[in-house]
Subunit: 530 residues, 2 copies
């Protein structure tokens, strides 16, 4: 199948646009505008999408509760059915190489299917039942049953750096749909054609599953005002976001200022500190230099989990930093996702280089349109801990080495860190246990995922993963935007007291028609209550 | 034991005050000030409390992870050891009768012991383990393990209406301590002596358990500025609140505006709609009138779950409303918690009575100091759905009956409702199923707890309870402030990747030394990993 891009918005199953086309995708390699032009969604279209979503909320209430499973699987199949068209357009709009996009498509589809499995299993609703005890003294105990339920329309703001896995059909959309919520995607303006193709897949899947078209909408645009209208709309019940700290915080502030505030789950990146202890520096210099440089430059440094600040110490730290610098120096120029990200990265590294006490080991150079060579900077622990600017993420191919003379210096640096998605420790087997434990404890208090003798890039999609962390890595330190627990963000909690069987949701009925695991009077069981 | 009230703040185990005494508890029955005077906590004292709390965070990291269990049990025992002193002071400061306070003390202690049990069981951390798979293609799967951990210092703002169960040692404090967090209580200015006695119990329990004194602080005061300082302090990590919508929203706004925002779990009350269907009105007039009036006037109407708006319909609605009015009329004057709540209630009922289309069935009358007789108002569905003011809680002894001519009118009224803690349906066995289901569906979308043929007052403390609901009932529709799930509010989520056994928290170690239930490679088990 091939799809002629419309440049329109998908609302209630129809491609429409009130405005005329006004922005385009741009090929980051050449700087050329890609056709077609895309229409900026209007406030009326925001309202139409949310109104349709609310109608869908009412309609799906009547369905068998596991309806999202089939939908998620159908979306995955429809994405695969897009074939090379998706990869070609993705490559044109993002400059991400074909093998990377092929892998990301596989990840996107397996993520959708993982959530389908979670829905089919059904236990994610966390059904808890305390049956009545008419003989309890001084008062009878009523029958009470609780579960998580869908929350309502969710606004999703995808990322530019994972146009598939964190995009229109990415983790936020998959987990919000899995919980039974309609999703309104604000397509990232850096890859509008890619977003449209994904929306085509969702529309086809909804149609195939005979589900309400209002369950999904795609609104395209570049205006901040569009984002504001979407978050401010009274029917919007939650927001998922992946991107910059500035944009994430702006959405958070809008949502918190609503007459009726809603949660914003924003993943806003971080510097992902790595600590390399003396024995690791000494015993594995070459290996660490190679692997760390690879992690640093993976995807042109455009990973939320890029190891952006690396603390090295011990006597051999100079050998390690030189070895890392050699790898960085040998890396060719690469094209970033767009011109503006490249310019921001140049600005950030230039600003860091100007901080007194910072030395440029490898200077990143802008090449054509959105292309640049990687950069590496270094400084001392003393400078790092006194310069909050060095803690700000530099999104792109490069990082900052921080030389520590002693473990205490590393402790002081880590203590100065704000929240991060990840923290990594590289340690040899004979390292002093107390030092390792101390550094781990500090890292642990500041990150969502702790890694020992590994690298932070490459986020597993599974049951145990946490892609989250304390602010400013995210706006909610108790959640994850990757993995099965991501579904928990888009729910609300409700209890039913003394409610007759035929009026209870199936998940809470005595007969347990869904066969799910439930906590019944304190015992986990998937049996019926008899 | 007897405790001479100091009128000071408890910080790091010491009773201290920078300021001189400046406010007093007031006996609501007489209007007399109670001795001693209490000192307003200062900004420096807020800082001292948080600094001590942060030191406690570091100290408890080294302890056996179930340390909060013993503490919670010791607090319960110390509260009981306060004996009549607590009841006497409670009665003086709140005018709540002795049997009520005796019951509330029992509830408070059993709540503390319930959380102790949850801590001992240990499974609340929701440990999820995906072990490594070195043979996975295309990349090996790393070992990843996640769990909930303590979040950090929690600020607790207790309620005036449950001075024990939602007070200094109430559900917020119990659940925050259970998760391993230090707690800073801002004592309610309506019962400062009661707060001090509870703080005495906690201090004794901490001492008995040889735990850091910084785990608990009590700050007394009446100034908004104190609340602001506590919520704004950079070391504060979460807030628990029970009280009015205005105060809860103010704290929410402060927390959301911080450089590093923190969650506020505010339970702000609601009108708790009750719908009484025609067959129930007809068949159980006398019974419903009696029980509903009792629920309405329980604790002088000062329950968050008071059934404040009652929708009646059918041909017999006049008989029911007259019967309810008769009960309300026959109820004696009662003393509210304080003078200012009484005045607010009078203001609210007067304002409601002035709305065109509202009729006063029973007029509430102010008696001495904080005393008044109960009130009952009535209106039509038409008036209700067009008057948002009628949806605002009137905290005190009284309610509003809304006469509906048809089920459609009731549907329209329910559709106009904002979030509520509870929603109740009274229906006979032969009621039309479709009508019942439709009304339940609407209620369900607007409440945290749905009750059929019961009354909303009386909140079970158990595993299945939800004391929460959509805004403005609370600021977080996915949580509860009562019951075992309340612990989830005060945690953060963290994953450990490839972390050696001796550096993992016990909950995630292969040997499962705590013997907790864990999800290991997709299977729930309390066994060790071998």
């Amino acid at each position: 199948m091939t799809h002629e891009l419309t440049g329109k918005n998908l609302i209630n199953g129809r491609w429409q646009s009130a405005a005329v086309g006004s922005f385009s995708g741009v090929n980051p390699t050449t700087g050329d505008a890609l056709s077609p032009t895309f229409a900026e969604a209007t406030a009326d279209e925001v309202n139409a999408a949310l109104t349709g979503a609310q109608q869908a909320v009412l309609a799906v209430r009547e369905l068998e509760p596991r309806w999202p499973a089939k939908l998620l699987e159908a979306i995955a199949a429809q994405i695969e059915a897009l074939g090379d068209e998706l990869l070609v357009r993705g490559e044109q709009e993002t400059a991400l190489p074909r093998p990377r996009l092929t892998g990301e498509r596989a990840r996107t589809c397996s993520q959708l299917r993982m959530f389908a499995e979670i829905v089919r299993d059904g236990s994610w609703v966390e059904a808890v039942i305390d049956t009545a005890d008419p003989n309890r003294q001084p008062l009878p105990r009523p029958d009470i049953r609780r579960m998580f339920r869908a929350r309502g329309p969710v606004a999703v703001f995808g990322a530019s750096n994972f146009p598939f896995a964190f995009g229109t059909c990415g983790g936020d959309t998959a987990s919000a749909l899995a919980a039974g919520n309609p999703v309104i995607v604000k397509g990232h303006s850096s890859h509008p054609g890619t977003s449209e193709l994904f929306a085509v897949a969702v529309a086809a899947a909804l149609n195939e599953c005979k589900l309400p078209a209002g369950l999904f909408a795609l609104l395209q645009g570049t205006r901040h005002e569009l984002s504001r209208q979407l978050v401010e709309h009274p029917l919007t019940q939650a927001v998922g976001f992946t991107g910059s700290q500035r944009a994430g915080r702006a959405l958070f502030d809008i949502a918190a200022s609503r007459p009726s505030p809603i949660p914003v789950y924003a993943e806003m990146g971080s510097v992902n500190p790595v600590v390399i202890l003396p024995s690791a520096v000494r015993d594995r210099t070459a290996e660490i230099a190679k692997d760390l440089a690879a992690s640093l430059l993976l995807g042109c440094g455009q990973f939320c989990t890029k190891p952006g600040v690396i603390f090295v110490f011990g006597d051999n730290d100079r050998q390690l930093s030189n070895a890392i610098a050699a790898h960085v120096n040998a890396s060719p120029a690469a094209t970033m996702l767009n011109h503006s990200l490249r310019d921001s990265f140049v600005q950030r590294t230039t600003a860091i280089a100007k901080v007194p006490g910072v030395n440029q080991l490898v200077e990143g150079k802008s090449v054509q349109h959105a292309m640049m060579t990687p950069a590496l900077l270094e400084t001392t622990a003393e400078t790092f801990k006194n310069e909050p600017r060095l803690q700000e993420e530099a999104f792109g191919p490069g990082g900052l080495l921080v030389h520590c003379q002693t473990a205490d210096e590393a402790v002081a640096c880590l203590n100065s860190l704000a929240g991060n998605l990840t923290g990594t420790l590289q340690a040899g087997p004979n390292e002093d246990h107390a030092t390792v434990a101390k550094l781990l404890h500090i890292l642990e208090s500041r990150v969502g995922r702790l890694i020992v003798n590994g690298y932070p890039t490459g986020v597993e999609v599974g049951r145990a993963i946490v892609h989250g962390g304390p602010y400013p890595a995210t706006t909610d330190a108790a959640s994850t935007s990757v993995g099965s627990a991501a579904i928990r963000r888009f729910v609300r909690l409700i209890a039913y007291q003394n409610t007759p069987q035929n009026l209870l949701p199936p998940a809470l009925q005595d007969a347990n028609p869904l066969g799910i695991m439930r906590l019944v009077n304190g015992q986990w069981t998937n049996r019926a209550i008899v």
